[in-house]
Symmetry: C2
Subunit: 403 residues, 2 copies
Amino acid sequence: MAAKSWVPVPDGSPFPVQNLPYCVFSYAGEDPRVGVAIGSYVLDLAPLAASEWADFASVFAGPSLNPFMALGRRAWHAVRHWLTERLTDESHRDLVEPLLIPMDQVRLHMPFTVADFVDFFASEHHATNMGRLIRPGEQPLTPNWRHLPIAYHSRAGSVAVSGTPVRRPSGQYRVPGRAEPVFGPTERLDFEAEVGFVIGTPTTPGQRLSVDDARDHIFGVVLVNDWSARDIQAWEYRPLGPFNSKSFLTSISPWVIPLDALEPAMIPPPAQDPEPLPYLRGSHDFGLDLSLRVELNGEVISRPRYARMYWTPGQMLAHLTSCGATLRTGDLVASGTVSGPDATEWGCLAELTVDGTEPLKLAGGATRSYLEDGDQVTISATAPVGDGLTLGFGEVTGRVDPA
Amino acid sequence: MAAKSWVPVPDGSPFPVQNLPYCVFSYAGEDPRVGVAIGSYVLDLAPLAASEWADFASVFAGPSLNPFMALGRRAWHAVRHWLTERLTDESHRDLVEPLLIPMDQVRLHMPFTVADFVDFFASEHHATNMGRLIRPGEQPLTPNWRHLPIAYHSRAGSVAVSGTPVRRPSGQYRVPGRAEPVFGPTERLDFEAEVGFVIGTPTTPGQRLSVDDARDHIFGVVLVNDWSARDIQAWEYRPLGPFNSKSFLTSISPWVIPLDALEPAMIPPPAQDPEPLPYLRGSHDFGLDLSLRVELNGEVISRPRYARMYWTPGQMLAHLTSCGATLRTGDLVASGTVSGPDATEWGCLAELTVDGTEPLKLAGGATRSYLEDGDQVTISATAPVGDGLTLGFGEVTGRVDPA
């Protein structure tokens, strides 16, 4: 039978005791600090540690998860075990209950300090769909795509927490019928539904990870919306890749789901053809059975499934470190847009509307090619935790402000 | 007549009193802290400030220039004025002399903490030469090149100080005659001679810089060697740009030359055709008359001139912020390879050897297509400071270790 907390957890809550995601929160004008979600509450970790486990009090007292994430997997396990016990064994109620703060009374902050932000391109469906749109008449997948997990670095300083307003970016792009580019607010503002892996344990200089090492380094998982300006992207991306079209804002969910909580969601990696080179092969690699949901102004427009992804998190990290680059605590390694084989699972408007040529039909007769000012995009996700139960990621949301 | 320091400055020293570049140094086992170069000495700033300007003592006592850089242009000016006075007016000798440490007795560290690392592609000669090599048969310059300063984000965590060993990276690439890629040590290891602009003053969210705002935000200038693996790059770069081929190591010089010291080196920006869009035009934009020198194992193989660059630092920052991205203290904004119209000014081996097909002839009958293990590359630069004098950047150097 599934473990149960003495804290009341409403049916369907994203935050059963099997989840225990971390956040940075503030409450009643006090300084931001580390918390963990249980049901409809945030548990204030610094005072709990102060009374039971003094070593960790300062780790949880600051405005960032990085000090905790840097401690490594053994510490993450130990803390998760400690919290599970405190929240399932009612004998701890007197100690813990005063430290539970109703979630609707806290403010959630950026949960960690981003070191480098790498964005992969790990969905074959997304890469194929985008190839068709951006390079019509050519092979949609570039020749390298099935041999290595393609990635690029994006702007760490532009990663912000869910709820940050999405100011419509301006930039340079070409409009039909004009040879010269123009500068102005993007006319093709898009979202991208992604999953982000947050690095806890750094690597040492020169250390190359095997595909099977991922669990030692990934502290947890967040949802990512990598807002994109498709017109700017199409004009700027040759030959060095996307830049301003992706660097104005990337939103992440405030809850970092521990990788350990996703153990029941781990599934065999997908079949890959051709077989990847040895440095991209593992003996206990995994994919993740996450069900994403994208809402536009409250209406569900897509349900991407992370199980569809071609390249695994382990392969991403093995590839990233294969050249000698080191991982740092706080690196954000995102998957790229999560898309499946048909439109019910496409993770961005460029795919859903065929670059705006086949507008989405929304409730009440509205249509959308790309995002309009005032539009709100919300991405959420669930994962199985066994016994037919699921955990939730919370959500990453953002509303488009005018340029 | 040029100002002169009472500290003896040897003829030809890179560090006359007109320069006063900042570094982070350690000495005699003590903690790293901020210093400034004068002649053959490093002036220890924290104790100098402690005795004269207490506000700054803690700013200079730490292992990074970031706290000082964050104070903004007025503070940079004031400190430079203060230091110039202390080092030119002999009445300060008793105070200052005990704080001068012979440069050959200090260890130089990474001078600042890199926030985001952006690498531009601002030399038309380099972009054209590389286009010919990488996309033979196509127009060497992509259609966007003369309309916007192309850039990509690279790996901030891989930026290291001069002297860091260059371990030959491994990666995936194709070899002639084989359809499938291989994984192994790069066979085409290259350097790239670049100039890097270090951001001091951050921007506020949504603030777009004009081309003329550069001086308020650029604290100083460093030399950059953006080590590159050309075989990995050629295979991986489509469609999202270079990744592992550039992210194993980027070396920078330990001295940050204040932008103010380069005032006499500021020159009118180059003619640009077509005229750029209004957001890339300024009324007092500038180029920089810097003379670079690249040595391979002590032999000069190229003398790139920064005056040849097409896009200016002001245009780079205006473009970067045009989408709404913010600058942070510690952002490193590099120019891309500095190349001129002919081989005496080409800034990387891919250009100098036509991708290895026309090896360089070196002294003693040696030849080089790409870098071999044990090779040492050293980039230095000078700039005019008036009265026929120059300042130097010191150097950025690195030696290739086996894979």
